[in-house]
């Protein structure tokens, strides 16, 4: 029999959850709530006796100091005069983390295993004293604040409808699939047949792939081999497998495409045979061959580079855009927990050391006509909470990140998540980054169970929902389950039990087993052995499900018992689902019946390349011009406006929610300065506590430059990555990069994507920029991913629909070892009287600048990067840091020198006394140019006067100027052009810097 337990804080204690609801209802929706209490609800669908129920109520679920609880409605005891009761619970099949830990704890306390069909479901009940609100408003509180209709359901109960005896009643969101699993044989007689099948089943097969697939299954040799296994027509398992493997997500068809690029102004044409090979693979191979610190790139789940003599680090970056756009919390938590599996599945497995984030959303105060899936404010809240829970509960420091607003992201937001890990260079005398599957090894699936989650990603239709249909396409990451698995796998690795490991991400088993089977080569798996969340899944669903928190491991048969015992110790579910073979075939069965028999090499050969036409029009020809601006008399308000602007103001509220110090590795935090509130140039951690080699990391995203020319956007991003690494003490000769491209669709269609060819040209130019910058600056790409289709079709208030494409975006992530923490440095000046230097030349490059952004201008003169000058600068600065000559290092980027100087003053609580006439600048550069130009290759450095000569001796190959001093006061004083341009104090600047988001917690 089912029971419902309600738990709440004692009425005399304040309820932060209730208060947070009151605040958000007021701030976000203008709804006034006088009082709110939140009850936790556990619904037990178990065979517990009433004594047992009372035991778990008291011993687990009720804290006698703070809580009251009851199996009867608690409302009369916590808020008897409530006006509305809002109940919010998860839909069937959605991962219920609290419910499953409740069950686990109950089994332990009661000393008995819980039966397969026993379950506990968690939900919340909000009691509101809000006499003024209508039912519609109460409904919208649920729909817009408390729940997401994709994963949650709710009930709104007015006080006069309240049933005092039964309260909200009992709702059991159990999945019941009244379905007998089966395998379909799909007779395909023509290309058209297959195309129709593809549409029907959401396979998204590319038209050009269709004849290749048909040819394979029609091949007489293949037919006779299949006949031996009792197979004739392709099965649904096989077609699903092929479509997953051929998807753009898994196969990067766009980047592997052939591009015909044409400059529309000059008519010049150029063919790029394969964008990935030419701009990413070849440069990386060349750079890796010349650098012994590049350990493993271009094939595994993440790249591997050397940290110090005994340890390597592992890095990769991902995006989780589409799911986050629909269900921000679930999408973001699944994203960060998911990317953490990549280092775990790299080589023989890495320990997770740090996470990074990048969020691109529409303006937080957006009030335009078009209605995005979620308002940017709520979207951002959800994303932050998802990364918070995913990162914090994984026990991995969320060490660095960025947030960027642009109205074009209302079509689809971007959620970047990156992961860093470390592993000993050698494990048991073998290189840790090498792995392979061998015939005879067992195929073991570790971690969570498989449900209908994530089948066909987010494209799955939500039609035909019933009360007991799983919310198939939406996933909620479970960091707790994964953390246990992480600890287990590291111990198994160190015991030498793991010859091969990879993660289950996109495509699920079809991808992890499919790819690992290419090494042995061959595998056979019985899909009936895969542990399920609920019965009734078809074999093809088991094969492609993207249910989270799973790894696929090869285990030698003689290690089976040791591996399983260790798995039990860590309370991790591990199951042998098959074995690797050497016959080159992927054989899947469901019980004894063969349902897939495909050559493992089939997917690697014979498929045609995608083709794109790219049409470029240079910026001036597109009508971009440089605005004609005159210098104002003084620039105080411009500086303050910049500090207050959404893309440069404080993001402290986000970083504070992220544990950036767990593992004890923190060296340079996301914030620096006397008030610890000024964003640092890069994060630095000490990933191996016994070593003194740090690891620096930072991400760069310069979307605005792409509005002028994506080539320069990318070169500036890569160069800034190098400077950020150098500024915090990283070795500029050992900088690695990760490219994460997020691009609108480049598939031209005169109706739906009329500027597709231009977007394709932007992509080609971006890749050229990446190639040139990496080669010139010596930065190999350790990892990278692309996510296309950053587009959304939104409806306006008047019912119009409009397609909104996101701006071409690439987040560039840089990493570098810091060889000795004595080199680590921060941006705040340390002593009054120190000399202030600006290194690098300031040019008239305001195009795409933050200053123009304040005026909604784009401009034309985008910063162009001088690679040689930047390299010389970084080399000189690196020597200065090694010799302890630089007392602070500040990277000049968005917002130009003005933003750099302002951050230094706020961080130090010390002033700067500067004369910008002294600057090494382009001739006749205006005051605006001097203060706000975003020329790349510049750094602000302060130096002890006693070290002046020694420091300047290092600057032979660098443009530089001494422009003033650190002052005893706390003001930013800037002279120039014969007058005082800026006169601001630290407190005033901090006020502007915190004005926009300072009130958020």
């Amino acid at each position: 029999m089912a029971h419902r337990l309600e738990i709440g804080l004692k009425p005399e204690l304040s309820d932060p959850g209730g208060q947070s609801l009151i605040n958000k209802a007021h701030d976000y929706m203008g709804i006034e709530i006088n009082n709110a209490r939140v009850l936790r609800v556990l619904t037990f669908d178990t065979a517990l006796t009433s004594e047992e129920l009372e035991t778990v109520r008291k011993r687990i679920f009720t804290n006698p100091v703070t809580d009251i609880s009851s199996f009867a409605p608690l409302a009369p005891r916590v808020l008897s005069d409530f006006d509305w009761a809002l109940w919010v619970g998860l839909k069937p099949g959605v991962r219920d983390n609290e419910g499953s830990t409740a069950l686990e704890a109950m089994a332990d306390v009661l000393g008995r295993e819980m039966a397969e069909d026993e379950a506990v479901y968690f939900s919340r009940l909000y009691l509101l004293k809000a006499p003024g609100i209508s039912r519609d408003e109460a409904e919208s509180l649920c729909a817009e604040l408390l729940a997401n209709p994709i994963i949650q359901s709710w009930q709104v109960i007015a006080k006069d409808q309240w049933d005092p005896e039964n309260g909200i009643g009992i709702f059991i969101p159990k999945v019941k699939l009244a379905h007998e699993p089966s395998v379909l044989n799909l007779e395909i007689k023509s290309d058209r047949d297959l195309m129709e099948l593809s549409l029907e089943r959401n396979l998204f097969l590319n038209e050009a792939d269709i004849p290749v697939i048909r040819a394979y299954f029609d091949d007489p040799e293949v037919r006779s081999l299949r006949a031996e296994k009792g197979l004739k027509a392709p099965t649904d398992v096989e077609l699903e497998y092929v479509s997953q493997a051929r998807s753009d997500h898994c196969n990067h068809n766009t980047f592997n495409g052939r591009f015909e690029y044409r400059d529309m102004l000059t008519g010049e044409e150029q063919v790029v045979d394969n964008l990935f090979k030419e701009c990413i693979k070849h440069p990386t191979e060349k750079l890796a061959a010349e650098r012994d610190w590049v350990v493993s790139v271009l094939w595994d789940n993440a790249g591997v580079a050397r940290l110090d003599d005994n340890n390597n680090y592992v890095i990769t970056g991902e995006t989780h855009n589409s799911p986050s756009n629909m269900e921000a919390y679930g999408g973001a938590i699944t994203g960060i927990v998911g990317v953490y599996r990549d280092p775990m599945g790299t080589g023989k497995g890495a320990k997770l050391s740090a996470g990074m984030w990048g969020f691109c959303v529409g303006p937080r105060d957006y009030d335009g006509e078009l209605k995005p899936a979620l308002h940017p404010k709520r979207l951002l809240d959800g994303i932050i909470e998802g990364v918070r829970d995913g990162g914090n509960k994984s026990g991995i420091p969320t060490a660095s990140g960025l947030l960027h607003f642009d109205p074009r992201y209302i079509g689809k937001c971007l959620v970047f998540v990156s992961a860093l890990g470390v592993m000993p260079a050698q494990l048991g005398g073998e290189p840790s980054h090498e792995k392979t599957t061998r015939p005879g090894d067992l195929v073991v699936m570790c971690g969570g169970r498989v449900g209908a989650d994530g089948i066909h990603g987010v494209t799955a239709s939500s039609a035909g929902y019933s009360e007991n249909t799983p919310a198939g396409h939406v996933q909620i990451g479970d960091p707790y389950t994964q953390k246990k698995m992480h600890d287990f796998l590291l111990e198994a690795r160190d015991k030498g039990l793991i010859p091969y490991i990879t993660d289950n991400g996109g495509g699920g088993l079809s991808s992890s087993v499919g790819e690992s089977a290419r090494l042995s080569p061959g595998a056979e798996v019985d899909l009936k052995k895969v542990p399920l969340k609920y019965e009734g899944l078809d074999p093809w669903q088991i094969w492609v499900s993207e249910s989270q928190e799973r790894m696929t491991v090869a285990v030698a048969p003689e290690d089976h018992d040791a591996f399983m015992a260790l798995s039990d110790k860590h309370d991790v579910l591990s199951t042998v689902i098959g074995r690797f073979t050497g016959d080159g075939m992927l054989k899947l069965t469901y019980g004894d019946k063969v349902c897939c028999y495909v050559d493992v090499a089939f997917l690697e050969k014979g498929f045609p390349q995608w083709q794109f036409e790219a049409a470029w029009l240079p910026p001036a020809a597109r009508g971009l011009v440089e605005p004609v601006l005159g210098d104002p008399e003084e620039m105080n308000s411009l500086v303050l406006d910049l500090l207050e602007s959404p893309n440069l103001c404080s993001r402290e509220w986000i970083n504070r929610q992220f544990d950036h110090e767990v593992q004890g590795t923190s060296v340079i935090k996301p914030f620096v300065g006397v008030k610890a509130d000024i964003p640092s140039e890069a994060g630095v951690i000490l990933p191996v506590l016994e070593s003194d080699t740090g690891l620096a990391m930072a991400s760069v995203l310069l979307t605005e430059y792409g509005d002028i020319d994506t080539y320069h956007m990318i070169t500036a991003s890569v160069e800034e990555g190098l400077r950020r690494m150098t500024a915090v003490g990283g070795d500029p000769e050992q900088v690695g990069g990760v490219d994460n491209f997020c691009w609108p669709s480049i598939i031209y269609d005169p109706k739906t994507n009329p500027d597709g060819q231009y977007k394709a040209a932007q992509l080609v130019r971006a890749c050229w920029g990446l190639k040139d910058a990496c080669l010139a600056l010596g930065i190999p790409l350790l990892s990278g991913k692309d996510s296309m289709y950053v587009d959304g079709t939104l409806k306006s208030e008047k019912g119009l629909t409009q397609r909104v494409s996101g701006p071409p975006t690439m987040m560039f992530t840089a990493t570098a070892p810091v060889p000795g923490l004595h080199r680590a440095q921060t941006l705040e000046p340390k002593a009054a009287g120190d000399l202030v230097y600006v290194l690098g030349r300031t040019k008239d490059e305001l195009g795409g600048s933050a200053l123009y952004g304040l005026m909604n201008l784009t401009g034309l003169k985008v910063p162009e990067t001088d690679f040689d000058a930047s390299k010389a600068l970084c080399r000189a600065l690196s020597r200065a840091l090694e010799a302890n000559l630089a007392a602070s290092t500040c990277v000049v980027s968005k917002g130009g020198l003005a933003y750099g100087f302002a951050r230094m003053v706020m961080a130090a609580g010390m002033g700067l006394d500067l004369d910008l006439d002294l600057l090494d600048a382009e001739e006749n550069l205006s005051g605006l140019g001097r203060l706000f130009s975003e020329s790349t290759g510049r750094m602000i450095v302060t130096v002890d006067p006693a070290k002046k000569a020694e420091f300047e001796a290092l600057l032979k190959d660098v443009a530089w100027a001494e422009v003033g001093r650190v002052a005893g006061h706390d003001r930013l004083l800037i002279k120039g052009l014969g007058r005082n341009l800026v006169e601001l104090d630290a407190a005033g600047m901090r006020q502007s810097f915190n004005k926009r988001f300072g009130g958020l917690v």
């Binding site: 804080l9 204690l13 304040s14 932060p16 959850g17 947070s20 011993r59 687990i60 804290n63 006698p64 100091v65 703070t66 983390n97 609290e98 830990t101 409740a102 686990e104 704890a105 306390v109 968690f122 914090n392 994984s394 026990g395 479970d478 707790y480 953390k483 246990k484 600890d487 039990d568 110790k569 860590h570 309370d571 504070r656 929610q657 992220f658 544990d659 950036h660 110090e661 767990v662 593992q663 004890g664 590795t665 923190s666 060296v667 620096v672 006397v674 610890a676 000490l686 506590l689 016994e690 923490l821 004595h822 680590a824 440095q825 921060t826 340390k830 302890n884 007392a887 002890d944 917690v1001």
Partner: protein, 279 residues
């Protein structure tokens, strides 16, 4: 002389590695031990017992995901399987430190504050007043009159806090008894050496009486929300680069890896065990 320390791990705990590292630096023979190595699991008997150790460290993290209250499920598990061993360990004068989630565990086990006549839970750590997880550095004031072994010789220093549920609450009566008996070992300071007086963010969670850490009457069982292992070396402090500059300009040496205030907690514990063993 060997001082043996156990650092608890598993089920979502996540500060085991650095806590173990700090204990090793403090001179203990420390090891990370999985909960199930103490309780046994699926056909496997326990391989460790608490009486093999002088110091127990209940570390930070999210045991069981913090679902149903921080430390609640782990405490229930420990009470269920190791209740007798824990009592024995405490009665024999063993030392125990609970940090963050570990503090929540000790409180839920009823070991803290362990006031006379109380066996039930009598204090609690609940959701921060600000309603959210917070990672920030705070000033710590150690109470000189506290019997706490771990905070000996400490007075005013900084530590990081990283939690969503760290608000210390108890009835007025219990609070009064804690204060009378000097069981409040650590409080949040205002940054200038005085008590934070409940002000956010100096008191980051709204704890009553600015309480950051308490001990039992022996001073040997101690729990705190801040993370001493988060400040075991100088270069974990948010302002260490500035301190380095100040020192080197005065001609004084500065070592980024040198011990910091948080390590003192572990050194004190090791020292106390050594002294007793020498007796």
């Amino acid at each position: 002389m060997t001082v043996r320390a156990l650092v608890l791990a598993g089920y979502g705990l996540n500060c085991d590695v650095e806590t173990n590292h700090a204990l090793l630096l403090a001179g203990a023979e420390a090891e990370v031990v999985h909960v199930n190595d103490l309780t046994g699991y699926k056909g496997h008997k326990p391989v460790k017992t608490l009486d093999q150790y002088d110091i127990l460290a209940f570390v930070g993290g999210f045991s069981w995901g913090d679902d149903h209250g921080g430390g609640v499920v782990l405490a229930a598990r420990l009470a269920n399987h190791l209740g007798d061993q824990v009592r024995e360990f405490v009665d024999q004068g063993g030392l125990a430190i609970g940090i963050c989630n570990g503090f929540q565990v000790l409180v839920n086990l009823g070991l803290l504050p362990g006031l006379k006549g109380q066996t039930e839970r009598s204090v609690a750590l609940i959701a921060n007043n600000c309603g959210n997880f917070q990672d920030r550095w705070v000033e710590m004031l150690a109470e000189p009159k506290s019997p706490c072994v771990f905070t000996r010789g400490l007075s005013r220093f900084d530590l990081p806090i990283r939690h969503g549920e760290g608000k210390f609450v108890a009835t007025d009566e219990t609070l009064a008894r804690l204060e009378e008996n000097g069981l409040v070992a650590l409080r949040y300071g205002d940054g200038r050496g005085d008590r934070a007086n409940g002000e956010f963010p100096q008191n980051p969670n709204g704890s009553k009486n600015d309480i950051a850490g308490i001990c039992d009457q022996t001073g040997r069982i101690f729990g705190l929300m801040p993370h001493p292992e988060g400040f075991y070396r100088q270069s974990q402090h948010p302002l260490w680069t500035r301190l380095r500059e100040e020192k080197t300009r005065k001609g004084e040496p500065f070592d980024s890896m040198a011990p910091a205030a948080g390590l003192k907690f572990f050194q004190n514990a090791v020292e106390a065990v050594k002294q007793e063993k020498a007796k």
